[in-house]
Symmetry: C2
Subunit: 781 residues, 2 copies
């Protein structure tokens, strides 16, 4: 755990330059706009430790699978997040000396990421070996308005010399992926062009043949006056640069403005990619840096209006929650239904693929409440578009008749993972994808989604479950063998309670959804069923499974069993684990983890969270009390579920404690892995802890409900959510609950089991003392 | 399945040259002498498909582990069978044309491996592009008398031209392993020397720094007259050759004799390796090819006297059983307790490592009966010497206090495998190693082995089991979670019956062994226990586990359950599997295999085979009848156990059918994988089918017992075995059973439950009609 980021409500601040922290900071200070993004690599040369990272959404490389031992069914190739051309580069020479923070003496180093504006600023003073000292200020952003555009303003002031400064802004496509399986470079050169201040390079990925054109235009200013420059073109392997020199006097400032663009063949015909890039560059140049910056600032302000969480009385928590929201919006804007939310977003290449079940289970709830409905809908449509591949995937594994198994990790619908116990067996992901459809409709009321897209996906998924269970003549019940649940510290188990539950829930919900679609759009419904060769016998088969499914339970303890045989394990608790043996995923061999009772992440509890309405509070409590002490939370996706359930069980102290485990996960480099990139998807879990946990927000019968408490350390917290056309500002303070309706749609809102009418543009104030003594219980739900 | 090898009682014969079969033949015609060996690569240039393979026992390379996803506990490096310098090479040029069977027109091609003499002969006539035709005869062997020596006699006769033949015998160390993980070459050059007819090259392995010196001396004969030659030295990267030309007339024969040696730093100080190699070459040259050949022939004849199986009435079966015995003796001679029996012997590099539990479970019974006692003892001592590494291995996985887990695959005691479900969980291997100690003592009566070596190994193994089980407060019994049994088509299961049984058997046997050792050598015993920090409480702990161990059973069916939950599987049978879906390990995805009821290899039945005395025949029959129809035998180690049990259950037809599945596995390339090398260890299983199955041989209370039947197709079969100093020739014919005692030790022998006294150098004849009608049962045991 590190603690070097300065607390601030709106800014992420690093002061002083520590090369050992550089890769961590490169992740934390990452920029993105949903279309492209980059790690906070320096513009100027840096020969120290760095992880170069520039990413263009939707552009991937199918790397040849690497295994120790091949298992039938593994994908031969799988999609990797692709490191793309580096467009931020500006080589700086003071006379003939290269500016490089790895070799210079650096003072007054400061990095500030302004989350309110989406702008990264870096300032420092560097003294080179020769004794020459310069002050530098670099400002850059990825525009969320023109999401193919990025801009840099790079100012240099010599402090103790007159001389020649040579600049070479460049675009370098001769990069590689750190995680390349066979140490290959993934890009080939197509074309380049250097014309005056403009430079372009068009690269093509091997195998997939995506093309990306990266271009830039530069301007030079001396003491804020624009200066004409005459550049010398520099061409290297997949590299275009423009070199020029300026004579400067001490304390004169020269400023290079570099406006860049990344266009991909996913959005333009390949043959016009260069032309289109030139057009984008021309348009952005015409706007100029200041206008682009102003637009960026305004657009981010609007986003914050819809999604901010304000915490009073805890700057560190305030900074953390905003950082999480900010990174989520940098990663996914919902404009393009071919894109999704990678576990590292645009901040690293680790893990490959862009889509995990994280999207459905953790991110959808966040975007549902904080972004226009279209945004979460596009996340759902993404899966709809990949249904054919999911059916293909299931077929490869021996399923038939339209059964669909969505991949564990994917970019384009094809599987990107190869651990058999996960790839083939962690099939609960299929249930989370169905649940997200239910969740979307529950939140938005948009039932038309079923007829348009949802039902077809649900049928494919449910057909899979039907074939995946089998009749045990021994038990005279249906069972599901050989699965891995969300708790990946068990592999190939029989009857994972959560997975069995999801399977029958899918059968119930698909049946219900079919009824809705049939009523809404009978013709469309009939056409679909015909196209899918669907027979009513399938409903009957599902009903039989729903009726006769086996769920492992322990009646004596009144708990659901994570899987068959769980109680045969030695029942030690997490508190009995010596600190020196944690995290067990680093300290214990894999087999020891597997036969231990320790749970990586919420499993039975994940099911109780999804389907809480089906269980009474005592059942939830018994299961929580049993599983929580056995859970090591070695997945960043775990604590939020425990936090929400603890809140539901009135255990406020623990609800807050679980929240803390992930709130500053990356800012404090809690797991020593932030240098690989940020944990983007788990950031949504932090938001859920606050909104669903502390504020107790739910949707029941089409209405919002709240059942809040106020964490002891906080004076108040507020958040903004959109719900069925209304924008609500919810404030939880020591004095009670206040909800402002910021537009003219009237709503009914439940607070502590009581329904209130909230008129358009009105305000609802429930007075209640939420200031609590330590450990006092909140009122019963 | 192929069928191109000609049937012959003593020879393996290939007629006609088919390049598509070449890699298969290279495996089948492999030579070895326990110290070194090689695939049947051609001496002359061959540009067609070939898998080059020369191996030196005990010399390995620790290749960096390659995985898809790392699991804690995997070895970072592991030992691979190392392809070593190729010493058989002789480049042949007719004038300036290279002799290469890939481009020449080949007639009269014939390869004969004489198993009685251990000599490979190859003859062919080749017509080159120019029209020049030569006849070639190549004879070679790896001497089992001087096991560092190999010899080649290579004769060429031009048939239709007078001209110049240029020969370049060479040693090429610039080779690599086909299965190198990172495409590295593993050898570096140390020194070379070319002096007249002698050539030497000394190479060193990377990392392990083994050194191997390979040398050769050549002689040339023209029409059987020795001719002086003047060679030109040829040096390339890790390559020494000697080139010279001879003028020949049509129908004159020139013969190159190449005598080679391989010496390794495992047996000599590195600094004297070259000198020692010269000495070995000098000695072998002094003997000359003909003497070496004569010694080879005589030594093999002696081996056959101790181990032959003679089958009358079935040439194909006769050839097969001798091939299996021959290959086992080529692989392991028992002279060196640092060596073991690799699954591919000296016939291929696949699988890496040299030692699997195959050695203990399948090979030890073979060597016990067919070789001097020292040979199997050395196989046991091999494990004794690696006990420290086994303890280290267990410690790495979290065990303590001297618990030993032997690796799944090893060369020097370190683990060479990285599939977690096998490496960490297929722990029954530990039991097989203990069982081999028991089996050795049962067969030989050599109880002193316990005090000298065995008890220490047994204690380490038993300590492991003690820690590996846990108390289930749920069951109020001990359980063993997260294992993989011999049936690798189940992974990470709970309570594999076989493994649970082995664990408690080890506890019982180690307790018993301790009693024996204490009585025999009290001082040694006390010292050992003191050194091992052994407390008597350990016996008490074991006793408690023996008493309270849980074994999964199905009482209704009266069978032992392979593991918890086995009966929840869909109970389909192998006969219901469409042929198009077999073998399932090639046709089904891994998860589908895992949740299917299909069993890869004997598992419960393996346990009933090991411990048959503890179960009545009806119990064995019920389990056999249940499991056999569910077993796909996709391991070559499976059918022999089923064969032996079927024989025990008087199901002669099936006993013979199971025998057939592996008897000609490699000769007929049954599984399309013989080109990778031979299935050496499963060859011992074929021997077991004949001796323990058909002849029903057992050792009970220190006495040999037989309960034979005669396979319908056979007129008779005989085999030779050694038992406690006696050499017995057992003959089973249509007229009964005849046992000749070939030395003067008197024995008691059981036949069909009746004990007979067999005096020294006497004969026992039991008349009984063994000619059976189809399907008629043999007498009850």
């Amino acid at each position: 755990m590190k603690n070097y980021i300065k607390a601030d409500e709106w800014n992420i601040i690093e002061e002083g330059f520590d090369p050992h922290l550089n890769k961590i900071s490169e992740s934390i200070f990452s920029l993105g706009n949903g279309r492209m993004g980059q790690r906070a690599n320096f513009e100027e040369t840096y020969t120290g430790e760095t992880l170069l990272g520039n990413y263009v959404a939707g552009v991937y490389y199918p790397d040849k699978t690497r295994v120790g031992w091949w298992k039938n069914g593994y994908p031969e190739y799988f999609a990797k997040v692709l490191n793309a051309a580096n467009w931020v580069g500006i080589e700086v020479k003071l006379d003939d000396e290269i500016l490089d923070l790895a070799t210079a003496q650096v003072t007054d180093f400061k990095r500030v990421l302004n989350m309110h504006t989406g702008v990264l600023e870096r300032t420092f003073t560097a003294t080179l070996k020769s004794g020459k000292t310069v002050k530098v200020k670099a400002t850059r952003f990825c525009s969320i308005v023109d999401d193919e555009v990025g801009a840099i303003r790079y100012s240099i002031t010599p402090l103790n010399f007159d001389g020649k400064i040579t600049l070479m802004p460049f675009i370098d496509g001769d990069i590689k992926n750190q995680d390349s399986n066979y140490d290959e470079k993934f890009w080939t050169m197509v074309a380049d062009e250097i014309t005056g201040t403009e430079a372009y390079i068009k690269l093509r990925t091997k195998k997939t043949e995506f093309e990306v054109c990266t271009g830039s235009n530069i301007e030079l200013y001396k003491n804020a006056e624009k200066v004409d420059i005459k550049v010398e073109a520099v061409r290297k392997e997949k590299f275009v640069g423009q070199s020029f020199s300026v004579d400067v006097k001490a304390n004169e400032e020269i400023t290079l403005v570099k406006i860049a663009a990344n266009l991909s063949s996913e959005n333009y015909p390949k043959e016009s990619l260069l032309k289109e890039t030139k057009a984008v560059i021309a348009k952005a140049t015409a706007k100029g840096f200041d206008t682009l910056l102003k637009e960026q600032t305004e657009a981010w302000a609007t986003k914050w209006e819809e999604s901010d969480i304000i915490i009073e009385g805890d700057v560190s928590a305030q900074q953390a929650i905003r950082f999480n929201i900010f990174q989520l919006f940098q990663t996914y804007t919902g404009k393009d239904d071919r894109l999704n939310i990678g576990p590292k977003g645009f901040t690293g290449e680790k893990y490959g693929g862009s889509t995990y079940w994280d999207t459905e289970a953790y991110c959808v709830p966040f975007y549902l409440a904080t972004a226009p409905q279209e945004v979460s809908k596009n996340l759902l449509v993404y899966r709809y578009k990949q249904l054919d591949k999911a059916i293909e995937n299931a077929t490869k594994l021996g399923f038939k008749d339209g059964a669909a198994l969505y991949p564990m990790v994917t970019m384009n619908g094809e599987e990107c993972h190869n651990e058999w116990e996960i790839t083939f067996e962690e099939i609960h992901r299929n249930g989370a994808i169905a649940f997200a459809i239910y969740n979307y409709i529950r939140y938005t009321g948009d039932e038309s989604y079923l007829s348009d897209f949802g039902l077809e996906v649900l049928i494919g998924i449910t057909r899979f479950w039907k074939q995946r269970v089998n009749w045990s003549s021994n038990k005279q019940q249906y069972v599901m063998l050989g699965v891995t649940g969300p708790n990946e510290y068990e592999n190939n188990v029989n009857n994972n309670w959560y997975t069995n539950l999801l399977a029958t829930w899918c059968m119930k919900y698909t049946t219900e959804a079919a009824g809705i679609a049939k009523k809404q759009q009978p013709q469309k419904y009939n056409n679909l069923l015909k196209r899918l060769n669907f027979s009513d016998q399938e409903f009957a088969d599902w009903a039989d499974i729903i009726e006769k499914m086996y769920y492992p339970e322990d009646e004596e303890r009144g708990i659901f069993l994570q899987q068959d045989g769980y109680l045969d394990k030695e029942q030690t608790l997490v508190k009995d684990l010596p600190a020196s043996e944690r995290p067990i995923n680093q300290k214990w061999s894999w087999d020891r983890i597997l036969r231990s009772p320790f749970i990586k992440q919420a499993d039975v509890l994940q099911g109780l969270y999804f389907f809480e309405e089906d269980y009474d509070l005592e059942t939830i409590r018994r299961n929580f009390d049993f599983y929580e002490p056995r859970t090591v939370h070695e997945s960043s996706l775990s604590p939020c579920v425990h936090s929400i359930l603890a809140a539901k069980l009135n255990d406020e102290a623990r609800a807050y404690e679980f929240y803390l485990r992930t709130a500053r996960l990356d800012l404090d480099d809690y797991n020593n892995d932030t240098e690989d990139g940020l944990h983007i998807t788990s950031m949504a879990g932090t938001w859920m802890s606050v909104v669903e946990g502390f504020a107790g927000m739910r949707v029941r019968d089409g209405k919002l409900q709240f059942n809040p408490f106020l964490p002891e350390k906080w004076k108040s917290f507020s958040f903004t959510i959109g719900f069925r056309g209304a924008t609500l500002k919810v404030n939880i303070s020591e004095n009670g609950i206040n909800i402002k309706n910021n537009n003219d749609i009237a709503l009914e809102i439940g607070i502590r089991n009581q329904l209130y009418k909230l008129e358009g543009n009105a305000e609802l104030e429930i007075e209640e003392s939420l200031k609590k003594e330590v450990g006092s219980p909140k009122s019963e739900v």
